[in-house]
């Protein structure tokens, strides 16, 4: 018998279960796009059959890091930029957990950029939601890796000299196997994309445009938005790397010209990291956490490794 009976339990799950019984006072401003991520998750999780006790939400630092304060799951609110390494190890140790990592654009594309590249490269079976508001919110409005060129802030008073980072393209080159962009103002699409991301076997990256009404006042509310799958103007094959790359490039450029393109950009069914590791013999398919609860397990001892030293 498993020591983790919440995992894989089959029962009806109500979306209210994901709302804390006594909700902590939200620290998000009225009109903040972050509420939409929370709502989309609360809708998506029961629809994909996940219960609060089998989900681990791992967040970084910033407004987005508060996600797991308001979403009733197991949570680990880590440090700035480090949600991914914590999350992916938890998934390796207990593959039954539904692991969702989340953070802001500064967290994921700036300070945690290296982890983003490598977690995508390794294709861990998890979902990563980046709250992209093109600004540092909690520290009061500094320029972020996705701020448009020329963006003025207290730390770049004459306007940013840097071109913004291209998050979708970066995810693709790094090796993410599901890549999508959605926006806070598009709740139905957001829910559907998050459901797909959770159900995808591999590293699913969702760049979630979340407007910041406080520190990015001149920023768009990300309306009107275009769903590239719904629109007749955009034809491409999202299983084709080349075509996906071009569509991403166009989408990233268009955002700074006032056109908000969203939708699914890339999907690939390559094996997950755990599958690869099991295939090379680097790990077994028995979850390590279960071993600690197996009373019959014969634990290996260094005593049996001593032949090479005699």
């Amino acid at each position: 018998m498993s020591a983790f009976n919440a995992i894989g339990e089959s029962r009806e799950i109500d979306r209210d279960e994901f709302t804390p019984g006594l909700e902590p006072q939200p620290t998000w401003c009225p009109g903040c796009g972050d509420f939409s991520v929370l709502k989309a998750l609360k809708q998506a999780l029961p629809e994909v059959g996940k219960s609060p006790d089998e989900v681990l939400t791992v967040t970084g630092i910033g407004c987005s890091g508060k996600l797991n304060s308001y979403l009733e799951t197991y949570g680990f609110h880590t440090i700035h930029g480090r949600s991914l390494p914590v999350a992916r190890a938890a998934k390796l140790a207990n593959p039954g957990l539904e692991v969702i990592a989340a953070g802001g654009d500064g967290d994921g594309y700036g300070i945690g950029g290296n982890h983003f590249i490598h977690t995508a490269r390794e294709n861990h079976d998890m979902t990563y939601i980046v709250f992209n508001n093109e600004v540092f919110g909690l520290t009061k409005g500094q320029t972020s890796p996705t701020s448009p060129k020329g963006h003025k802030s207290k730390t770049q008073p004459t306007g940013s000299a840097k071109s913004p980072l291209r998050p979708l393209s970066l995810a693709l080159t790094s090796g993410a196997s599901y890549i999508a962009r959605t926006a806070a103002v598009n709740p139905n699409q957001a829910k559907e994309i998050i459901k797909e991301a959770i159900e995808h076997d591999g590293f699913a990256h969702v760049d979630f445009l979340t407007q910041c009404p406080t520190w990015n006042k001149d920023a768009r509310q990300y309306v009107p938005y275009v769903d590239i799958q719904e629109s007749d103007d955009y034809e491409f094959d999202r299983t084709d790397r080349q075509e996906a790359a071009e569509m991403m490039y166009e989408t990233e450029s268009a955002l700074y010209e006032g056109t908000v393109l969203t939708g699914r950009y890339y999907v690939d069914d390559r094996p997950t990291y755990a599958e690869e590791k099991i295939a090379t013999g680097e790990m077994t398919d028995t979850p390590i956490v279960e071993q600690y609860f197996d009373d019959d397990r014969e634990w290996e001892r260094s005593y049996d490794l001593l032949d090479r030293h005699k």
Partner: protein, 635 residues
């Protein structure tokens, strides 16, 4: 110093196979019944550069390198592969011979490869004259020619071992057995031929005029030859560690490699990741999920772990971190030992630190204290650090096989079952009170749940938090949580004080009123120095401290009250451990003199003996070794 000992130094270039040759020779000596201890000296490069391994072998326990050595096998150095390279790098071939002469004891034996070095270069060394002066016995042998005759030039190491055995009157059977175990058939045969030819040739060609012979010894039970890095890795395995994440960095890489090579066979996971921040964060993630997990690094890499380390303290996530010190600051001397990271591991990361730090003094302690580190980390939900150095990690020593014959300890420590969670307190938001003082827990620990368990949801956060884990800035809650976390150290200290013997090692004359104090890997040299001083008519007691945090206040107070004066021996320039004693005890400053060494090489026993004598003398005489005496400065 025992006269009945062999200290064999094999010198050559990096990449010339010095390591494997010496490892097999050390095992052969061990199998013949001797106790052995190895010391490795190497530069930070893949090929070339002067390197040597020293093997000290004696019928009784050896726990340190000796003072100097008595047998040199100079293999020549193959760094410059052709004339062009030689023009750039100079003549490296002579260096294994020329650079090792200063430390060779009187009456010592020299074997050099006359097939490799130029006789003119040898003449320039004034070797003959120096040999006469020092009573050295020199045997030039064409090792290269011997090797070429039967196989390839690289096999000259084997020829060197054959010559060594012959000169020392040592049987070849153990050496042969080991070669059979280690070598594929194709190269085994020529190597065996070379071994025997070299053995016979040297006894035919030379009349042995040296006295040195291999000592005779006998073991009561089977022995294993292993390094401090092996011991740490094996301690982790026996503690049930099944997750390791890391990034390569010398000298920590050894532990990381040994565990990575074993993890898949024992049902665990090893992850080499993008940097050390990720490495420590992965260990945290795995531990949070319910695995016994570790990470580690050396100085610069460990610096990157500061923030995850603080997160482990704040979220009370068990984790074991290994820090392999090397000489700093910055990149420093990458392959040389130093004990300069003590203050760094004690205090790095923001806020008041609440962590446990052990500094094992020898190979057995490295094993024991790694096991203990896991036990404490998981029982008390606190990060535990093993701080050691290139010296302890790289040196090999024989340990009775029976030492490892014990039960593994795979317990996850303070966790709750789903049935227990049903009974446990939850807050109105639905969170289990994971961070609430548990009055039933004598160790001051709040047992945790694991993600995926029914009814155990909580939020782990680096922010100050309420019992359920919600971010909370209320001053009263802050004080309660701070004190709950900090109190664990007191409980751990109490538990450690109840263990007998403690992690501190005492030696020398109990009644002495002069004390020598050291910590970590300087133990062996200090213990030997104390023994020599007492044999030489002095009265000295010694202690090697392993518990860095929480500090063994009672034990150290008792020790320092029992002496009039003490010398603190450590491998750093700023007397960090002496500073720790004064900080923790708040007195004894007037009693504490320091003996410091920071030239990249570990202490030799004679340097400590000399340091003691100079201190006792109280004169202005300077130490002959590259060490510094830092007088007591009060509190």
């Amino acid at each position: 110093m025992s006269d009945n000992e062999l200290i064999w130094r094999v010198a050559g270039g990096s990449g010339d196979g010095i390591d494997s040759t010496s490892q097999n020779f050390a095992k052969a000596l061990m199998r013949s019944g001797l106790d052995v201890f190895t010391h490795r000296h190497y530069p930070s490069r893949i090929r070339g550069g002067h390197t040597y391994v020293e093997i000290r072998a004696a019928p009784e326990e050896v726990q340190s390198r000796g003072d100097g050595y008595n047998f040199l096998l100079a293999l020549g150095d193959s760094f410059a592969r052709n004339a062009d390279e030689a023009a750039v790098y100079g003549n490296e071939e002579i260096k294994p011979l020329s650079e090792n002469l200063d430390e060779l004891r009187e009456g010592g034996v020299i074997v050099y490869d006359s097939g490799f070095v130029d006789e003119e270069d040898v003449a320039e060394l004034n070797l003959e004259e120096r040999a006469e002066e020092n009573g050295w016995h020199v045997y030039p042998v064409d090792l290269r020619g011997l090797a070429k005759e039967h196989g390839r030039e690289v096999m000259r190491n084997t020829a060197g071992v054959g010559v060594t055995a012959s000169l020392l009157g040592m049987e070849l059977d153990h050496i042969e057995e080991l070669m059979e175990d280690a070598m594929p058939e194709k190269i085994l045969e020529p190597n065996i031929e070379i071994l025997h030819d070299a053995y016979e040739l040297v006894s035919e060609e030379f009349e042995f005029d040296h006295e040195l012979r291999v000592p005779e010894g006998d073991h009561d039970e089977e022995q294993a030859l292993l390094s401090g890095s092996n011991a740490i890795a094996y301690g982790a395995i026996d503690a049930g560690c099944r997750f390791i994440a890391g990034y390569p960095m010398t000298p920590w890489t050894d532990v990381f490699t040994i565990l990575s090579q074993n993890m898949s066979d024992i049902g665990g996971i090893a992850e080499q990741v993008e940097d050390e921040i990720a490495a420590a964060a992965l260990a945290l993630g795995a531990s949070h999920a319910g695995a016994k997990a570790m990470s580690g690094s050396s100085g610069g890499g460990f610096a990157l772990m500061s923030e995850p380390l603080g997160l482990a303290e704040m979220t009370e996530t068990p984790i074991v971190l290994i820090e392999a010190m090397r000489a700093g600051p910055s990149t420093g001397l990458p392959t040389k030992p130093e004990q300069g990271d003590l203050e760094f591991v004690l205090y790095t990361s923001q806020g008041d630190s609440s962590r446990v730090v052990f500094a094992p003094g020898d190979i057995e302690e490295a094993y024991e204290q790694t096991r203990l580190a896991f036990h404490i980390a998981y029982e008390y939900q606190i990060p535990t650090i093993i701080v050691y150095d290139q010296k302890l990690g790289g040196e090999n020593k024989n340990v009775p096989v029976s030492f490892f014959d014990r039960e593994p300890d795979p317990s996850l420590g303070s966790t709750l079952t789903e049935a227990e969670l049903e009974e446990a307190a939850h807050d109105a938001s639905g969170k289990f009170h994971r961070f609430q003082h548990d009055p039933d827990n004598d160790a001051g620990v709040s047992p945790r749940s694991l993600p995926g368990q029914k009814g155990g949801r909580f939020l782990a956060t680096g922010n100050e938090h309420s019992p359920g884990g919600h971010i909370e800035e209320d001053p009263t809650n802050r004080v309660i949580q701070m004190e709950r976390r900090m109190e664990k150290l007191e409980h751990i200290r109490e538990a450690l004080d109840e263990d007998h013997p403690s992690n501190q090692t005492y030696y020398g004359d109990e009644t002495a009123d002069y004390g020598i104090i050291t910590w970590g890997s300087s133990h062996g040299a200090v213990a030997e120095a104390v023994e020599r001083l007492n044999e030489g008519g002095h009265s000295v007691k010694g202690v090697t401290v392993s518990d860095m945090m929480p500090f063994p206040e009672t034990e150290m107070t008792e020790f320092l009250e029992s002496v009039d004066e003490a010398m603190v021996v450590e491998m750093n320039a700023s007397a960090q451990f002496r500073g720790l004693i004064q900080k923790e005890l708040g007195r004894f400053g007037e009693k504490l003199t320091s003996l410091l060494k920071y030239n990249g090489n570990p202490f030799e026993p004679a340097e400590i003996v000399e340091g003691y004598e100079l201190h006792l003398d109280g004169g202005d005489a300077e130490p002959t070794a590259q060490v510094r005496i830092e007088p007591a400065a009060g509190d």
